[in-house]
């Protein structure tokens, strides 16, 4: 599948998860790799890009079980991007449904 497309979908997934609550890298990576079977490492370049684009911010928070963790939080710009990506995605899967459902 088109790498740009996959990255766009992963961005949508990451933003969706961060809208629910702030999370650190390992959490995001393990949730994604469990559900859509991507390599854990794929998530970090995307997080860095989202941060440099101002879609997410980061902050450090102490952890009971080791060094402080870098948490990611979605920004207002990130929420807007999420809305746009979500609309695109829904339109896309709707078209795929029409085609696979044999209506075309």
């Amino acid at each position: 599948m088109n790498i740009q497309f996959k990255k766009g979908v992963l961005e949508l997934c990451v933003l969706s998860m961060l809208i629910r609550r702030d999370q650190y890298g390992y959490e995001l990576a393990s949730t994604l790799s469990e559900t859509i079977q991507i390599a854990d490492g794929t998530i970090y370049p995307i997080l860095r890009k989202l941060a440099s684009d101002g879609q997410v911010t980061t902050y450090l928070q102490e952890s009971s079980e080791g060094p402080p963790r870098k948490y990611y939080a979605v920004t207002p710009a990130g929420r807007q991007t999420h809305q746009a990506l979500l609309a695109e995605w829904q339109q896309f899967i709707q078209h795929v449904h029409v085609i696979t459902g044999g209506d075309l």
């Binding site: 650190y24 890298g25 390992y26 990576a29 790799s33 390599a39 854990d40 490492g41 794929t42 970090y44 370049p45 997080l47 860095r48 890009k49 440099s52 952890s63 079980e65 080791g66 060094p67 963790r69 870098k70």
Partner: protein, 188 residues
């Protein structure tokens, strides 16, 4: 692959990036390993789940090179014809001394030819009319002359239609050539 090997390969793959960025990214992966350890995972399984460090590094390098979203120079696409002032002056002089006199002369000649063809046609009509008022051999001679002049008129008109078309094409080509000189050949 253990953590040390993973981090080394990742560091190598990140070498196109600047120092602070490399340090930040490596810290993220240190944290990832630490979080995995706290869940009781081994170095090897964490590294395996992370994937190929070279591929991850390539993704960072790719994103970093794309980060200044290369502003496409907008001037390039809707290319306004660039006027070359020197060529413009040359073309003006060329037209003033050669182009305009040449084309005016040619079109004056063309108008003359059309007038000539018209005169021949008019003469043919006059001869036909005269023939009506004459009798015998003279009438026959006048009719024959009139027919000959009519044929000449038709041939002239056919020739002049083509000549006029060629000249119009010639003027258009001349203007195009002038424009391409001024705009440096950019204009189609």
């Amino acid at each position: 692959m253990n953590k040390h090997q993973f981090m080394n390969q990742l560091r190598q793959a990140l070498s196109p990036l600047d120092g602070p960025a490399i340090a930040e990214i490596l810290a993220d992966f240190e944290e990832h390993f630490a979080a995995g350890f706290s869940r009781g995972k081994s170095e090897e399984s964490i590294a395996a789940e992370l994937g190929d460090p070279l591929e991850i590094g390539r993704q960072y390098a790719e994103a970093a090179s794309a980060i200044p979203p290369a502003p496409v120079p907008p001037a390039a696409a809707p290319a306004a014809p660039r006027i070359n002032e020197g060529a413009l002056l040359g073309v003006i002089l060329l037209n003033l001394f050669i182009g305009i006199p040449l084309w005016l002369g040619l079109f004056a000649a063309l108008a003359g030819f059309w007038a000539g063809a018209g005169s021949i046609g008019a003469a043919a009509v006059v001869l036909f009319v005269l023939a009506v008022f004459q009798a015998g051999v003279i009438s026959l001679i006048l009719v024959l002359f009139a027919i000959a002049l009519s044929a000449l008129t038709i041939l002239s008109v056919i020739f002049l239609v083509y000549l006029t078309k060629w000249m119009i094409k010639g003027v258009v080509a001349w203007f195009r050539w002038n424009r391409s000189l001024v705009t440096g050949g950019a204009a189609a």
